[in-house]
Structures are given as C-alpha cells and as structure tokens.
Symmetry: C2
Subunit: 367 residues, 2 copies
C-alpha cells in the first residue's frame, strides 16, 4: 500500500526502482502503480540471504515491512552499509542501530512516514526555532472521508495494530519526565476547518522524541470522529482486547483473537472508499525573549485520479523525499537519524514541506 | 432473586408459603429473606413428577422460573388445575394455554412482573378509559443507581437475556399492524425528574399487547443511560453478538459465547451496589369527545433496609399482589389472563397501584 506509492513517486523522477515483495499479487499491484520503469523482485525478505542479494545492487534501500520483520531487516541493511530510509511499523528502538550504522558507514533515516515521520520533523523545527521550547503537542489520525456509524472509523493499514494502539499505555513527557497514561485517556475535542469537530486521545506515539528533544512537555494523541474512544474503551475495559483466555462455549478463547477477526471485517475500507488524514503539531515556547507559538495543520485527502489513499500518500511522500536527499547527499551520516534531527540542517524540513504541498498535501503554519 | 421477595411479601401477611428451588444455596438465601414461616423444598422442577408433587398441596402456584423451563412448567400447572401467577421470562406465547386452563378450571395470570406486568395493567387501564385509545408508548429500564463508564449499565437478572433483547427484532404496532424494527433503533432522550436525561430505544417488549388491545399505535422501549445503545449497536454490527462461528486464533468461535462471558463479568452488580427502575407509560386518545392523554411515571429504588434490588421489588410485588387476589377470588377465570385484562375489573389496577405505592414504589399519574 505504501511501498508502491514511494516507488511510483521516485520512478516518476527517473530513479531506477526495484520493488521486492513475497506476495506475487501485491507485487503485481505495486508494479502497476509504479509504472513500467520499476523492476519487480518476487522474494521473501524474511530470508537473510534473499534480503542480502536483493539490496546488494541498491544505492538506497527503503524499508516498508511489517512490524515483526522491520527491525531485523533494518539491522541487516545497516550491517551491509546501505543508506536507507525506513517506514516499517516496528516495536523496537531503531536508534539502537546507531553504533552499527556509524561503523558500517550507513546513513539511515528511521520512522520516516507521517507520524512518526513528518510529525517528528516539525517537532524538530519547533525545538530548534523556540529557545526554549516548552511544549509540543502532536495529534494525528487517518479517517474515512464519510464517517459511518457505529464505529465511524476504518483502518487504512492493520486493524490489529490499531487495537494495539488502544491497548498499549501511552508514554508522554511532563515536567521533563516520561509519564505513562492509559491509551484512550484524556479525550478532547479538536476542530479541523474542512472536517469538523473530531476528538483526540492519548496513544503511545512519541517514540524517539521522548529522548531526542529536550522539551519538558510532549504528547502525541490519536484523532478520530467523536465517540470512538468511548466505544473502544468499552471493548477494552470489558476484556475484548485481552490476551488471557476466557471460557466461552466450551472453548478457551483469547478475546483479542476474536476482536481482531471481527474488527478487521468492520474496519476494512471498501474498494474506492475515500479516506483523509489530519494532523496538528502545536509548539509553545520563547522566541527572541517573547512567548511564541507555532502551529501546523495538515490535511490530506484520497487521490481520486490515482485512487491512492491519503494514508498511503502521507506515509509514502516523506519517505520518498528523504530517499531523494539520501541519494543527493544532502542528508548525510553515517548513523541512525530520527526525522526530528533533519531539522538541524537549516531549510531542509521547509523544502520537504514545500514538496509535500506540491503533491497536494495541505500544510498550514501559524506563528 | 425475585421469588424470595414474592415469598417474603406473602409470608409477611400470614400466607402459608413454600419455596421450591433446585439449588440449595439459592433456597437457603430465599428462606432467609422470606422468614421462618416459609417452608423450603429442595427439588428439581424440570422433573415433571417433582413439579407435580410440589404443587399438589398448593392453592396458588407462583412461577418464577428460567425461560427454558417456564412455559413447560406453566403448562403442567394449568393441566393440574391450579390457580397460578407467573413471572418466568419465557419466549413462548402463554395465551396458547388458555383453552387448557378453561378446561382444567385454572385461573392463570401470566407475564405478571413489571414489564411485562405492571406496564400491561396500565396499558389496559388506558385502553379502557380512552375511547378510542390511539396510542400507548411504554418505556422501561433497570439501571445502576450510579452509572459507571464505559457501559453505564449493570444487569440485575441475566446478561445473556439482555444481549438477546439487543439482538431480537422489535415488534411494534403502527397503523393497527405489527411492524418490525431492529432492536436498539429510534433512540430518543427521556427525562426523569429524579434521575436525569436517559435514552430509550426499540426492543421487543409488547408481547401479548400486540393482540389483546385494539390500539393502532403501540411500542415498548428500553431505557438506559445515554450512549448505551450506540455502544451495543457497535458490538452487534461488528458481529460480537452473532451465533455463526468465526475463525479466531486457530479456533472456530461463536462470538455470542465470548460476549456473554465478558459482558456478564462487566455487567454483574457488585454486592450492595444499588439499582433503580424507571418506567413511563403514555397513552393518547379521546375521552368524552376531547383529546386526552394519560401518563404514568414509575420510579423505584434499591431498598437499603432489606438489601433488596429495585428490579426484584418491582418484578415481585405485582406478582404477589395478583396472587393475593387469586387467593381472595377477586381475580376469577378460568383461563389464561394477560395483565392488561385485569383492567376490565373496575378499580382492580388502581388498588394494585395503591399497594405498590405502600411498598415504596413511586407511581405518578397525569391525566
């Protein structure tokens, strides 16, 4: 879903692109989107030898793998000394590969989608521009364009990962310390001009930011149509997302297994059903001695011309734009670079924002 | 839960009462509530011979059995020619036993709790007083006194029966015809002075009323704290109340089985947790040539002195008050009498309402 959009974006500007996937149907679909210039490699990247031979001829590797494979594959890419940009949804800490990357000479930008990704870049800009930057609040969500009860939600990627987001405690930064709040807590309304009033609640999305930025207050919230958090809280509190088995109908059932099966069915986008992405990053602090506030509002829509989901677009474009700069040498390591550190290069994030706008992503900045 | 309150109510006025139950612990608890004058009979009433010998010495039989057993037992009581009043939550049509009751000489009042029960009596009064009666709307619910998120609900009796209420299509009367609407549909706000704004939605509660009263518009709705219907709709629409098996974690799981297990846990009252009952019956029509409206509002609370739940009180008292009248001969058959037909005897329902008030049930009538 995302890899093909990255490939298409790079191929359209003359990059020589090869797409690798284990699933022939996915590979064909990706090839169709990326165009005739993209080579297709049917291979199982969970096999280290296959991964090695696949990345061998590449100057830049872009990782868009499932979470269970992402870190392992990234470690191998780092070891092979390939420059890389990664958007795999991985539970591990990618900064742990920094020493290995410095040793092998690889420059690797990780967590390089929309959030984490673009959100980190903007947070990095705020932390660099405000002195000091006192707080950064990120809110982000992928939503169906037309909300349909009862869930008013569809999951563009993996419903199982969404359930995990509603379960895993959220790490926030308060008073300079990491604090933990339940997922789905502190629900607040949030207005978006083109969409209406939405709601935002705590989820565990800060990732590297809790350690890389010296900002005493930071949180990332997830955005949904109003009422969704209360609904999900009911499922969670009643035990429907639990992993401990429960006796039901003569079987020992893991509730999470059934909820994954049923919510995947309920949350899967219909063919052609349009989605949208909304994100807000608000930073407060001091600039030239005065209180200052920077607020970005991002809104993106399903692309009807190419039938590309907004969630694929906003995840793919930051990766494609960073990959270009790895190729051009304007992003330079070696080491593992979290996207917030791209803001250390003056003008770099502004350029990426400009190129996102050129691709139809609405990004407005105040302050 | 209910039988013991009926027994206590009758024993307190000198009736000779015997309580029969298959479960020794339930029987002991019922005996404790009913007092030393109640005899305790440990027996399995699903065994026809046991039922026969248990009811043999009784003048009046009161049925408060689980749904799967209620109708079968009632048929046997009818055949034995015993006068009876019944509150078993049975799926079958109790009026089907009318011919058998007329033959054996039994007088049987069925569906004799709060709703069905008291609601039918009041509907019967409205249908008798208004000429014609154009519409009757009943709304009723048992709720925890203190709503606690996320469900804001507890089930005083069987959570499985509550799920069934949220699943089974609701039969309403419109334009003199029975129409079917999905359960949980047509949610509307409803204010109760002592409780606040609640919500009411369609459920299948009219039972005998669809056939016994010649009123062209009738509906019965269930009352909950606001938001509950949307929550339950999400569970139902996503398939969590479905009976068809779903592949989950290598098993074929019936979602209803797991939901029963988890929601029973979530909805069970804690020891001493207080409940309340609210009901409204509104009838519209014509009286002496002018438009007329009768509205009853019923509110009842947990009894702290006797630690009796409101749901037990309001279900037990109508049965106990009808049993007294069967004993006194003021309710006379033979035949199966739905509670709405008690209104055919002038003053009878008013007397019952008065005695409910004497037991602390708030019942107000307007119009």
């Amino acid at each position: 879903m995302v890899g093909s959009v990255i490939a298409a974006d790079l191929a359209s500007e003359g990059f020589e692109v090869a797409i690798a996937d284990v699933n022939p149907a996915s590979l064909r679909a990706a090839g169709k989107r990326a165009g005739p210039r993209a080579a297709l490699v049917e291979t199982d990247l969970s096999d280290p030898a296959a991964l090695r031979s696949t990345i061998e001829p590449a100057d830049i590797v872009i990782g868009a793998l499932p979470g269970w494979l992402g870190y392992r594959a990234l470690a191998q890419v780092v070891q092979a000394g390939r420059n890389c940009c990664d958007i795999s949804f991985m539970p591990e800490d990618p900064l742990a590969l920094d020493a290995a990357a410095k040793k092998s000479g690889a420059t690797v930008v990780v967590d390089c989608g929309v959030a984490p990704g673009l959100s980190n870049m903007l947070a990095g800009v705020a932390a660099a521009e405000l002195a000091p930057c006192r707080s950064i609040e990120i809110a982000v969500g992928g939503l169906p364009r037309t909300p349909r009860p009862p869930f008013n939600y569809k999951a563009a990627f993996s419903p199982a990962d969404v359930i995990e987001e509603y379960t895993r405690p959220a790490r926030l930064v308060e008073g300079g310390k990491v604090v933990v709040r339940p997922a789905l807590s502190e629900v607040e309304p949030l207005d978006f001009a083109g969409v209406g009033t939405l709601e935002a609640f705590n989820t565990d999305g800060l990732r590297t930011l809790t350690r890389t930025l010296n900002v005493p207050t930071m949180k990332e919230k997830t955005i949904r149509y109003p009422g969704h958090a209360a609904l999900m809280l009911a499922f969670r509190e009643a035990g429907f997302f639990a992993e401990e088995k429960v006796a039901a109908g003569g079987l020992a059932v893991r509730p999470l297994d059934l909820s994954r099966a049923l919510l995947t069915r309920a949350w899967t986008y219909a063919e052609g059903e349009e989605d949208l992405t909304v994100m807000r990053v608000v930073a407060e602090g001091t600039r030239r001695g005065a209180a200052a506030r920077i607020a970005w509002e991002i809104e993106d829509h399903f692309d009807r011309a190419t039938r590309t989901t907004s969630m694929s677009r906003v995840t793919a474009f930051p990766a494609a734009l960073v990959a270009r700069r790895l190729a051009a040498g304007t992003i330079r390591g070696p080491g593992v670079i979290p996207p917030e550190h791209l803001a250390r290069t003056p003008g770099l994030v502004d350029e990426i924002v400009e190129e996102l706008r050129a691709r139809g992503v609405r990004i407005e900045r105040e302050g």
